[in-house]
Amino acid sequence: MKDIFVSPGSEVNYEIAKKTTASFFIHALLILVSLTCLFPLWWAFASSLKTQQTVFTDLSFFPKHPHWENYAAAWTQADFGLYFLNSLIYTTAVVAGVLFIASLGAYAFSRLRFPGKNILFLVIISTMMIPIPGSFIALYVLLNKLHLINTRLGYILPQINGQLALGIFLLKTFFDDLPKELEDSARMDGCGRFRIYWNIALPLARPAIAVLAIFTILAVWNEYLLAMLVLGDKSLMPLQRGLMVFQGAHVTQYPLLMAGIVITVLPVLAVYLALQKYIIKGITTAAVQG
């Protein structure tokens, strides 16, 4: 190809043209996929502005008479103020716990030596596989023995444990591939293993940690089955309990439910947006290579 374009100037033009066409098609594709992802959210949003009668009959892109008051109604009826605070506490606690414990564990599995390492890794990972359907009764009995029923801790600890397998697996995968040279040189400088883990390994694994944080936040934010089992007091319940108000045994109040869903989804997206930059700024900006 290059032979045809003899003049250096036209080659540059060709390159630019090629780049532009390529990026046009890339964007066309990305936009197409984006539209399929956006459509349900938009539908939920548009539905949240309709009434129970028009929600399935008015198929307009945006309702002619938007009922913005649905949002106020959803907020008060679902008691979101209270639940938001609870969910914030649970999410912070579980995320902090998972990130700390899983990264310690993953680092140990990746770098350190201790007896029964391989077997223990397999056993922990295998808890991800077994979808213990009947375990809710056993868990309840256990929490009851530990006096953790109807407490925040009783809701937080099982959730940390629930995310550990995924967290250790994910972080170990990334730790395994990190260059060891920096850690070695730090060791020469007399740093202890905790210091090496904290100051060197963790910052390097930032993209993976951000991913784990994103997954954990979403899981905790959307959790309600465990909450129903463990918690009793309304004052301890998480956000999803609020959404239940709109879903009766038979009647579902769609506009209010959709408004509630939009309200609950926004924080997750905001946090994801914020954590994004850690996924982007990976190892390149840390500039540790070689």
């Binding site: 964007h27 990305l30 984006s34 201790f114 359907p133 009947g134 550990l164 995968t173 990334f174």
Partner: protein
């Protein structure tokens, strides 16, 4: 063993201790309880339990064709997810990994399906697949393929694939996020060096990106297998396992055995067997990938 060595091992063990403690409290006890119950005829309520030994497993292996049918369905969806869903996720992650305009926006948008509540997903897709007023049928008749239109979720030929498509649409965002993080971890210098050597996009991908990404591919594929084999919510929101047994999956069978027929012990046996199969699958995958890495 010298004092220093012992000290080192103890110090190393402390790293794993918190995970270990949580795991032993909250995973092991329920796990053994389920194992124990799988050898009983417990109904989930009574105080009295009758020991039945391996009878549940025997029945499951010899006289429960619907469980194996549900397993087959789950394998079918998993196969689609492993191939189509993950390739799509990888391709999109690869596109977003390049410095394109608005890359951030796409990254957020692709994560929307996993974030969306199951209720919305169920409503939307029931509407898309509806036999009479569905969007898909409208679209097909618009492009002149009206003959193909049908009630997608209750047609025995399309129901399972239709459910699989929903699952893949909802799930590709997970793989996308992990794969993107993996791609971002690859040092840019390697790409630049390759570009200086005049390698084109495919060569760069084949020789630099893919080998470095193998551990991440393994991670994503194992998570895909686990996530897809345990598919449940989407089925309940769309077909409930029907028509007939065409979209039944292991978890729907387990739950209906446990709740609808109150055979708690039997359901536990199903869970244990299902878990063992998943475990075996993952082990095979890890072994195979170890070989691949050594090559």
């Amino acid at each position: 063993m010298s004092y220093f060595k012992a000290r080192k091992i103890i110090g190393d063990t402390i790293f794993i201790l918190p995970a270990f403690l949580l795991f032993f409290t909250f995973s092991l006890y329920p796990f053994f309880k389920v194992f124990e119950l799988s050898a009983t005829d417990w109904d989930g309520i009574s105080r009295s339990v009758q020991w039945v030994g391996l009878a549940n497993f025997k029945d499951l292996l010899t006289e429960n064709p619907t469980f194996w049918l549900s397993m087959r369905n789950a394998f079918y969806i998993t196969f689609l997810a492993l191939t189509a869903q993950n390739l799509a996720a990888l391709f999109l992650a690869w596109l977003c990994d390049r410095d394109i305009k608005g890359g951030n926006v796409y990254r957020v948008i692709f994560y929307l399906p996993p974030v969306l509540s199951g209720i919305v997903v169920g409503l939307i897709w029931n509407w898309i697949y509806d036999g009479n007023y569905g969007l898909l049928n409208h679209f097909l008749s618009f492009i002149g393929l009206g003959d193909l239109s049908r009630a997608w979720l209750s047609n025995r030929k399309t129901a399972l694939t239709a459910v699989a498509v929903i699952h893949m649409w909802k799930g590709f965002g997970w793989g996308f996020v992990i794969l993107l993080a993996g791609l971002q971890s690859i040092p840019r210098e390697l790409y630049e060096a390759a570009r200086v050597d005049g390698a084109n996009g495919w060569v760069v991908f084949k020789n630099i990106t893919a080998p470095l990404m193998i551990p991440v591919f393994i991670l994503v594929s194992i998570l895909t297998i686990l996530g897809t084999m345990q598919i449940f919510d989407i089925i309940i929101a769309t077909t409930g396992g029907g028509p007939g047994y065409h979209t039944e999956v292991p978890i729907t069978r387990i739950v209906s055995t446990m709740i609808a027929s109150s055979q708690f012990g039997y359901a536990c046996a199903m869970g244990v067997l299902f878990g063992l199969i998943l475990l075996a699958l993952s082990m095979i995958q890890i072994q195979v990938s170890k070989r691949v890495r050594q090559v």
